[in-house]
């Protein structure tokens, strides 16, 4: 099994706020992240795909194809956007780094796993599958999701 990772960056704004809590509790739990005017980060998205290299191409998946999928499914929705106000998945969930990693998985998994099977089909290679999403909020802070319940 080979694990292939592609990186991309996006810049977005967000704030942390739980509507069912008082303003005081939001400020106590989330600190400066609770500022309703929001703030922003340069995020790095790492997408790891696992599979066997195709015997003909030597690819687990085509990196250009993966780049396009990441652009279409994630970056076009998140880059230069306000995550709380402009992305449907964060209408009800707080856009923490953990939740962004989970949301990016949900956006990417159908596209990657269906096409990943095609890469393996008929060539005797294993189908490529999404294995891990890592989202860096800063170089020192990141979250990871591996598709676990």
């Amino acid at each position: 099994m080979i694990f292939l990772t592609r990186r991309a960056t996006f810049s977005a704004s967000h704030y942390y706020w739980n509507e069912s809590w008082s303003a005081e509790k939001n400020e106590q739990v989330f600190g400066r992240c609770a500022n309703r005017s929001g703030h922003g980060h340069n995020y790095t998205l790492e997408v790891t795909v696992a599979g066997e290299p195709d015997p003909v191409t030597g690819f687990v998946v085509d990196l250009k194809w993966l780049k396009d999928v990441m652009e279409r499914e994630v970056l076009s929705a998140y880059d230069h956007r306000h995550l709380n106000l402009e992305t449907p998945e964060f209408k009800d969930a707080i856009p923490t780094t953990e939740n962004i990693a989970i949301a990016a998985w949900k956006r990417l998994e159908p596209a990657i796993n269906s096409r990943g099977r095609e890469f393996g089909d008929g060539a005797g290679a294993g189908g490529a599958k999404l294995s891990r999403i890592r989202v860096y909020e800063t170089p020192e802070i990141f979250a990871e999701y591996r598709g676990e319940a």
Binding site: Y16, E98, N99, R134, I141, E144, Y145, A149
Partner: protein
């Protein structure tokens, strides 16, 4: 839903690789310039990965401020700007980064404010790093 939260910390420390179990010549052979008598230093990056359920109320696996406090009290205050060889943990263990990584794992594994310690990674330089995980 289980996710992982990762955080990186800087630790600047000195060490010398040397063991009394070997002769001076054997130490030199085993550790090369890392055996130089007066030690040397590194900017270590300590990466901590915590796994656990994402709290639906906060969207978090672990509160960053609480995690920082734990790591500061148990690891940074102990090792940052210190000579590792002088720490009791390295009284009878060579202060290799393997041993530092395991020591940090043991210091943190039962002290986290939430979640479980998935791994500790210690980067000694840009080109070498060590990992210690719950899986042994």
């Amino acid at each position: 839903m289980k996710a992982y939260f990762g955080r990186r910390y800087l630790v600047s420390a000195s060490h010398r690789l040397h063991t009394d179990a070997l002769t001076a010549e054997e130490n030199r052979e085993a550790y090369g310039k890392c055996n130089n008598a007066h030690g040397h230093g590194h900017n270590y990056f300590v990466e901590v990965l915590v796994g656990g359920a994402v709290d639906p109320a906060t969207g978090m696996v672990v509160d960053l401020v609480a995690l920082d406090k734990t790591v500061d009290e148990r690891v940074l205050q102990r090792f940052d700007h210190a000579n590792l060889n002088r720490d009791p943990l390295f009284a009878d263990r060579v202060a290799t980064t393997e041993n530092l990584c395991r020591a940090i794992f043991v210091l943190l594994v039962d002290a986290l404010p939430a979640g479980e310690l998935e791994y500790v990674r210690v980067e000694e330089t840009e080109n070498n790093f060590f990992e210690c995980s719950a899986r042994g």
